[in-house]
Assembly symmetry: C2
Homo-oligomer: 111 residues x 2
């Protein structure tokens, strides 16, 4: 279903990125689009889910088949630049958590 | 910082709940408020983060000190009722993933 990442059999990995944007928009939307696309081309990528409050708070969760896959993604040159610009320009504050998904299900069953 | 859950030393647990709402609003806001409050009173609760797109997609991540704490929360009577009503009325679709947080950090350091 649109907006939902696939649900493969666990275990796999989730990167939970919670952020509050600055009021600097310059370059952000283009970079976010490029990074979503680049992530989806990586080996071990499962999917991504994102929601943004009107106040600028957002949560992005990306899912990866293995620890190695998400480590590789973290180190890609274009992504390193995006992380640097994010720290310098676009994010007032963020928290990043790496978590191992142990079980998962979806609902409601009947629809 | 407001809107961000605390960052205790891992490991701990995250419940990642991704959802798409129906157009039924009846009772939803009150129940969501009550459940947020009830969760925060439970033993082992760390915090919660939530973001909602205008289109009805949302991501809620609650954090728990242990597997046992989140299992206890899942089984509380008032929460079981909320889950039932959620399946029947409020959610078109949802995915729930239980994940063990292995590492975490926040940024940007300088602000």
């Amino acid at each position: 279903m649109d907006g939902f990442a696939p649900l493969p059999e666990p275990p796999y990995y989730a990167v939970i990125f919670t952020s509050l944007r600055t009021d600097v928009d310059e370059g952000y939307a283009e970079m976010a689009y490029r990074m979503d696309r680049l992530a989806s081309e990586q080996t071990g990528y499962i999917g991504i889910e994102c929601a943004r409050n009107q106040g600028g708070h957002s949560i992005t969760v990306s899912y990866w088949e293995s620890e190695k896959a998400l480590q590789n993604w973290k180190q890609i040159a274009a992504h390193l630049l995006a992380q640097k610009l994010g720290r310098e320009r676009w994010y007032e504050h963020y928290c990043l958590r790496v978590a191992r998904v142990e079980r998962a299900y979806s609902g409601p069953g009947g629809r």
